[in-house]
């Protein structure tokens, strides 16, 4: 293990977080609130970051192992420091609660322990929603875009942070790829802010909700989430953007360079849109009688399907009270999640496609054992190593969901609450069913359960391995 390079990059990550904290600091000053909670967070961050980044890199060797450790530790440290403003300002006095809220922000989950959201200060509220935007595209990708990092090995870091079974670059240079990704991200966020501001939201609310949509997070400035605005226009804008941010950013890049036809041919995009369309129709029909007509049903089902499959977690309706079919369909959508290379969570559509094709292949193999077949995705054969990693990651997800529920049961809640809380956290959705439904929150869980769920959120956002690796002794051995 090359500890020096790990320390150096971690230092840069902390410095970047200190830099990003300037924005909520400015927001606090603009709203005439005390800037002290932010200043007292920025100072230790800058000191720790500055100190660590002074560590000289003797050997530039950085391999998959260092990449995983850097990403895993970065996210944990960022959340640990990022929780400080909430504690210092007194908005969330208990540190474990603040940590849960920050992890939920960075991992773009959107699960909240806040019982009175509107009481929070504007500076802290800005930070709370801004963490979604930072976590959506990833802080290490951000660093790659702005700092001159030695590019030869940076792919090991990007690969650990960017979700999806196979991470590919858009252009030869990692740095340019990171810049293009952030530019697309920034541009789409600004367009959404503009559209929301046109729909009657205040600029502050529009910007913050755009942060939360862009990262597919789900925090809101209102206790009733998007339902508080009761505007079909705002719901439609947010639905469309939630779905867009759940699409692989490669598609946007292709459209940007004029290859629209190639972009729309994407198998993953088509399956994703197909799942959305099917679910919206089934749920709309299912809830039509309850909400007063099919059109009204479409309005609610489109928003709820978009919010769950993109793993955002806003709400315009309490789907907890919907018929069982709709409720279960939404839970299944949590598993599927968004496309690879998007800002959303979940197992990812492309992995699901590979899984189902593998199942079919195995069935055909049983009928004709000597038959040799490859699995195809996007018109290309998928390597055996990729298929194996997809199978493994799927099973690890299931195992973690199951084992975490075991911890949650200690709090004595019902099985639906525990199971959907576990799913909503690991797939970075936010609201689940039962007591953690759209109108509920996670405040009632014990500290142990909150830490377990925080770990789940990190495991889900970083796709298991970077976090899991931190617990493996062999990773820390000197090489």
């Amino acid at each position: 293990m090359n500890y020096r390079i790990v320390c150096n990059v971690l230092g840069k990550v902390l410095l970047a977080e200190a830099l990003l904290l300037m924005l909520p600091l400015a927001a606090a000053l603009a709203c005439a609130e005390s800037p002290l909670p932010f200043i007292f967070t920025i100072l230790p961050l800058a000191a720790a970051g500055g100190g660590l980044s002074l560590v000289k890199i003797r050997k530039p060797d950085l391999f998959a192992r260092e990449g995983f450790v850097i990403v895993g530790l970065s996210w944990i440290l960022m959340s640990a420091f990022g929780a400080l403003p909430f504690v210092l300002s007194g908005d969330i006095p208990h540190y474990v609660d603040a940590f849960f809220e920050t992890v939920s922000g960075f991992t773009t989950t959107g699960a909240s322990i806040l019982t009175d959201i509107e009481a929070m200060g504007r500076g802290c509220m800005f930070w709370r929603l801004f963490t979604h935007w930072i976590g959506g595209m990833g802080v290490l990708v951000f660093i790659a875009a702005i700092l001159p990092v030695s590019g030869d090995h940076y792919m090991h870091i990007m690969r650990a942070e960017v979700p999806g079974p196979e991470v590919s670059k858009l252009v030869p240079r990692a740095r340019k790829t990171a810049r293009i990704l952030y530019l697309i991200y920034l541009a789409m966020t600004m367009i959404e802010t503009g559209l929301l501001a046109c729909g009657g939201m205040s600029f502050y609310d529009a910007l913050l909700h755009s942060f939360a949509t862009a990262g597919t997070g789900g925090f809101s400035t209102r206790a009733a989430s998007i339902a508080a605005y009761n505007s079909v226009y705002i719901e439609m804008v947010i639905s469309v953007f939630m779905l867009l941010f759940g699409v692989n950013f490669n598609v946007f890049y292709l459209i940007l360079i004029g290859q629209v036809a190639g972009a729309l041919k994407s198998e993953e995009l088509r399956v994703y849109l197909g799942i959305v369309a099917g679910s919206v129709l089934v749920i709309a029909a299912n809830i039509a009688s309850q909400v007063g007509g099919f059109l009204q049903g479409l309005r609610f089902s489109l928003f709820q399907v978009a919010t769950v499959i993109s793993t955002t977690g806003f709400a315009t309706a309490d789907f907890n009270t919907w018929p069982e079919l709709s409720r279960w369909l939404l839970v299944l959508l949590m598993f599927v999640g968004s496309c690879a290379g998007s800002t959303g969570g979940g197992i990812k559509v492309s992995r699901m496609i590979i899984l189902f094709k593998t199942y079919l292949n195995e069935l055909k193999q049983l009928i004709l054992p000597t038959r040799v077949r490859r699995i195809w995705l996007e018109g290309k054969p998928v390597g055996d190593a990729t298929v194996r990693s997809v199978l493994v990651i799927f099973h690890i997800y299931i195992a973690i969901v199951g084992l975490s529920v075991l911890v949650l049961t200690l709090d004595g809640r019902d099985m639906i609450t525990n199971f959907t809380a576990s799913c909503a956290c690991i797939f970075n959705v936010g609201p689940g069913l039962g007591d953690v439904g759209p109108t509920g929150n996670y405040a009632f869980f014990s500290d142990l359960s909150k830490l377990t769920l925080s770990m789940e959120m990190l495991l889900g956002r970083l796709e298991i391995f970077p976090v899991l690796f931190l617990f493996a002794p062999s990773v820390w051995k000197k090489r």
């Binding site: 030869d152 090995h153 252009v171 240079r173």
Partner: protein, 456 residues
């Protein structure tokens, strides 16, 4: 610049590594996913999986938008087809690696018909380099600048050498032919030495001089002045096939050891003068019988680095004066540089030197200066670059004394109207001159950059 390289094998990988380090955007094409994964894990490049001669694959790699397209697969025909497609799609320049003798015989018309800018044959390039190295006793590397007829010879100072203990200031008074020491390596550290530098046994130094003077210098500093007469080649590869006529033209007797009988017959058909022996060169008895103890040159050219290195050591032990081995894996040399013989050549590095020089020339050409050729001296840090001085170069009209060169930059030689000379304080540069600059500074990409205070 955007550069697309087809083939992520030894040669393609090395070229990609060098050009990536120079700051170019590289896309690699290969049919083997594992090779691409390996490349993507060690350098900042994009990989495209597929057959490089297929238009769809070239399109995916955006070969049409490439400034330079380099086809470096092991298949000549695929390289030619890929280059032609790439040029038709809009690639500005195309470079192909060609190994087949028949194609090379008509290389000029091939270049014209196929729209190639450069056809490069690793085997021939290696053979040329070996034949030059064999001409100088103790030389480990000879960098030849064809347009000016100048050579920079790198060699290690032996224990009994007259140079041992001499300062560079003393050098002109003690050894008659005037030479310039361009760079010195001691214990892995490189420097551009000044007059007070003391030469020691074990140093590896690079010297240049006027063409005739260089040979006389070597005769003066080495005990054995006899030109090489008998050379044993181990392995009848393509390199051997190119090397044999080059050596024979200077009056050298060549013996080739080759294991494969069919290959021996092919060699016997094309190389009539040479002794072709069908035997396993790894057998020391065979080496003894083929006259290795009496030979004064040994070149190991098998496809196995380990065989080449170990048998070269054996040949040195037998007292063979000049030993050269072909080694593909640079790491072997790095790891055991004290143990292995000094003269090791790697075809992929020689090809990469040529292509890097060519690409630097394209990337930094202006009316101030143009890069004509580039060599690495000894390591991957010190370069010798031949610049063509342009009309608007900043150093025109100033004498070398007034130029204020950056530290660690040496103007090694100047060629004017076909006549070369070693520069002194009163030398000045004119447009059309060729200047050879030696430096460890990686940012010297234009002639102006050698001056203090000038950036790229």
């Amino acid at each position: 610049m955007n550069i697309v390289i087809a083939g992520a094998g030894k040669v393609g990988f090395t070229i990609a590594q060098r050009l990536c380090r120079e700051g170019h955007d590289i896309t690699l094409i290969d049919e083997r996913r594992a090779a691409l994964d390996n490349a993507a894990n060690t350098m900042d490049v994009l990989g495209v999986c597929g057959n490089c001669a297929a238009p769809s694959v070239l399109k995916e790699a955006e070969a049409g938008a490439a400034e330079v397209f380099i086809a470096a697969t092991g298949n000549d025909e695929a390289n030619l087809v890929a280059c032609q497609f790439a040029r038709k799609m809009g690639a500005r320049h195309a470079i192909a690696r060609l190994r087949n003798q028949e194609y090379l015989e008509s290389v000029d018309s091939l270049r014209e018909i196929m729209d190639l800018d450069l056809a490069i044959n690793p085997d021939y390039v290696t053979a040329e380099e070996i034949s030059r190295v064999l001409q100088f006793p103790a030389a480990t590397q000879v960098s030849f600048f064809p347009d000016c007829g100048l050579e920079i010879v790198t060699f290690r100072i032996g224990e009994n050498s007259r140079l041992n203990g001499m300062t560079l200031n003393q050098l002109p008074s003690l050894i008659k032919p005037k030479v310039l020491v361009c760079c010195a390596e001691r214990n892995g550290e490189f420097c551009i030495p000044d007059g007070s530098f003391v030469l020691r046994a074990g140093d590896r130094i690079s010297v240049t001089a006027l063409p005739q003077a260089l040979r006389r210098f070597f005769n003066a500093v080495t005990a054995n002045q006899k030109p090489v007469k008998n050379v044993v080649l181990l392995g009848g590869s393509r390199i051997a096939q190119h090397l044999t006529p080059l050596l024979e033209s200077t009056g050298v007797r060549v013996t080739i050891l080759e294991r494969d009988y069919a290959r021996c017959q092919v060699l016997a058909e094309t190389l009539r003068e040479a002794d072709i022996i069908c035997a396993d060169g790894a057998d020391t008895n065979v080496l003894q019988q083929s006259g290795l103890p009496d030979a004064d040159g040994f070149v190991a050219l098998t496809n196995f680095d380990e065989d080449n290195l170990i048998l070269s050591m054996y040949a040195e032990k037998l007292g063979v004066e000049r030993v050269v081995s072909k080694v593909n894996n640079d790491k072997f040399i790095e790891l055991l540089s004290d143990v292995f013989p000094d003269s090791t050549l790697s075809p992929k590095n020689l090809v990469a030197d040529r292509i890097e020089g060519y690409v630097r020339g394209l990337a930094h050409a202006s009316d101030k200066s143009t890069i004509e050729a580039l060599y690495y001296l000894g390591s991957q840090n010190v370069t010798a670059t031949e610049f063509l001085v342009g009309e608007k170069a900043a150093c025109i009209g100033r004498t070398l004394k007034d130029m204020a060169l950056k530290p660690g930059v040496l103007l090694a030689a100047v060629v004017r109207d076909g006549k070369s000379f070693l520069p002194n304080g009163s030398t000045s540069l004119h447009p059309g001159d060729r200047a050879i600059v030696v430096t460890a500074n990686q940012n010297i990409l234009t002639l102006d950059a050698i001056l203090q205070g000038k950036r790229l």
